[in-house]
Amino acid sequence: MKLKLIGLAIGLANLTFSQSQLPADSISMSGQLTQIELLSLIDTTEVSENNVFIPIERLIQRTEGANIISRGNFAQDPMLRSYKNSQINVTLNGMRMFGACTDRMDPITSYAETSNLESISVSHGGNADLNSNALGGGLNLNLKEASFSGTPKTSGLFGSSLASNTSGINLFGQLNHQNKRWGLFLQASAKKYGNYYAGGGEEVEFSHYQKMNTTANFAYKLSKKEVLKVNFLYDKAVDVGYPSLPMDVGIAEATVAGVNYQNFNSGKLINNWEAMAYYNSIYHEMDDTKRPNVPMHMDMPGWSKTFGAWVKAESQQFSNHKFNGIFEYYQNSRRAEMTMYPDNEMPMFMLTWPDVMRNTGGIGVKDNWKLNTRFSLVSSIRLDVFCSNITTDFGKQHLEIFGYDVEEGILEPIFSWKENLTYQLNSNTQLFTNLAYAERSPDVSELYGFFLFNAHDGYDYIGNPELKKEQAWQAELGISQSFEKINWSFRGYFHHVNNYIIGRTDSIIDAMTIGANGVRVYTNLPHAQLMGFESNINCSISREWLITGNAQYTHCAENTGQPLPLIAPLQTRIKLTWANNSWYANAEWQWSNAQNRVNSNFGDRPTPAYSLINASVGKNWTLGKVLLKTELQGFNLLDHYYRNHLSWGQIPQMGRNITFNVIFKI
């Protein structure tokens, strides 16, 4: 029995993948594991034995409307409909977390592991779900959690993957115990990857990494309608190379703990509600000691600590209305330092994040209104208050150099509102449209960053405490049809963002980083526009054959018509899957158009088109009570040399990679 709170934003993410004719086990690695939940527009990628060895970032990349910015083979940065960084909300099991690296080498997605996830849910646009207080939607990593069972059960899952490219190894083990009263889930994983080789055999230096992760979840049934859960996660990556950047990472370490209380059938007004309190702490340390030709050795540690709590509730059905509410508070403190060691001189020191603390409180309400059998309208509003402070005089003194008054904090209300209208044309066809207004508070780097080097455009970035919040008007139209053998959907959108935040070159201030092109100060553009579409199609040819395909495109421009930097070109994937009872195989064609709409001011360079062929074959074995799965996966089989437009520094992507995966289920 699944004790998930359907209807809560978290719960929505757990809506399971609709059963296709294929046995679940046989949907392969690169599967079309997303499905549109029409009303909420949340795309959920379930993690199963079939994709457990695919890095989180690659799973995100396969989600509609999503992309990743890479600086190497590790910790790629998610992007939703070309919104990035703090324009999107990234949460771990509903917990707010913020990376500790000033150069975004540690997006939150890098602190989890596919094998400890239940699913990844992605929603687009402002107020996409009640959890979101940014412009571009949300991405939540749902951790695997313990559950209950009438008869006590203990099961285990163990897996190992070997990769030809990178000489990589990935191991994980899980233990799951369930009984009537309590459940326990334990997991540990370890990965080690060497440098990868681009198509044609060129070694990409400093692309290696190692990582371990442990997760524990304990669930206890307090009563028939109350569940208490305790979560713990520890993740540590060491010796991580970033080929796009002038330095690597020595340690990236996160500790996460949370307590969750769920209450079902709560009363006449409230159907169910859930509360959570959490804490997480991240330590991140860059490392340039292994690089040749470093002009000066430097240490760059960063810290980020967050604690928070939220309450989410869902009402009973009142005639044709149903309400959801959220109340949330969190506090994030961040500090980053840089110390440089010149020869025969005193070390040089500065704060790059000058002891910043942000307090955020938010409240949101959503109304699901079934107007009649054909129309339904979902309205939601959310109001947040962001308060940003520099907590130490030492930190304040840094920003005062630029003439900013940072003595008082910045208090900023952030509002978002969304109307989503769905029309059921007939039993096969749904049409929907939505209109949203959303705001985003500038983030820590944008407000208070102090000489943060951006390796993509080669500028040192300086924050601006006088930035205005971004304000977006977003419109979207969509259609989805499903028939017995085929279903497809299309979503098109247009977003107009006022006060879009971007760097503007300041020729007066000297760059701090040796060899940098200059200094950029964050500033508000009058506006920017983002538009595009996503489409997908699933076609079951027979019981054994399935074709899936998708395409996505965004077109983004500054107010002057100049393209925004780092925007992906048109991309498509078409995949053919075959499966019988124990064997399965698939082949995938992945194509990306050239990107010639570039903004060379920001380090963009035109990127040629490329196409790749991926394939895999596997077999499921049953050996008594043990299920064994063996699989060969091939990625970029033709060993094509290509660049992804969203890769910093124009480094080539990985060439042919064959992995051999084994999974035991006991």
Binding site: V311, Y329, M346, G361, N389, E407, F450, M512, I514
Partner: protein
Amino acid sequence: MKIFKTLFIPLLAIALFATSCKKEETTPTTPTEDPLSEYVLISESQVNALDYTVKVYAQEALFVGYNYILVQVEDNASGEILNNPDVMFMPVMEMNSGMMHACPLEQPTYNTSLQVMEGTITFVMPSMGMGKWNLGLKLKNSSGTEEEIKIEVDIVQKAEPQLFSFISANDSNQRVFVALVNPRMPKIGINDFEIAVYEKQTMMSWPAVELLNIEIDPEMPTMGHGSPNNENPTDMGEGHYLGKVNFTMSGYWKVNMKFKTSTNEMMKDDAFFDITF
């Protein structure tokens, strides 16, 4: 519902309170017992004619440059520290060559909170090897009796010079001495940049130089960068010029300076102070 109320309401209260953006109150620093405990005792002398004990304090060991000198005068008869005693600085260097010269100074005024006479002396060379510095103090009591005492002091040259001199490019008879007054405790951020400028007219006459136009340009030679929003020092009177220097990071900074006359004729275009912190 009960748990809902007991949990939700406190949470709401906490969140609203914590998000209120209140400035945290700083705890006041506790005053130290002896107001002079942060200073260095340079000497303690008896003034026999007046029956005084004179203690000389400074912020640190005396050095070549701009020194704050604090003089505490105690009446031995009453055991009390005198308020606003009549004290005059008369520093003299007796050089090994037999020559004698004075140096720039600012005669002391009374500092009520510390109960001392406070002034400054800008020593222009170290005592080591060059000769002997005498910190001459002339004291006078209310009945007009005066006595001059000589206190031999050791003047050190700091590793990072706090004073330099140059011959004006505009006037080869003008020898200018520039002492760094601030920043004493340099920090990342905006620092007061204050210098005191004097000239040597005769061996015993070292008046302040006023009405100069001074430009500054800080840089980190190791990194090859400077800093934004510096303010050139402007004339504050009595040879003092006050501006702002911004340090974007700690480490070795070189504050380059140009000195021009009031009519903008260049006196020195390559002066600098090294400031490392």
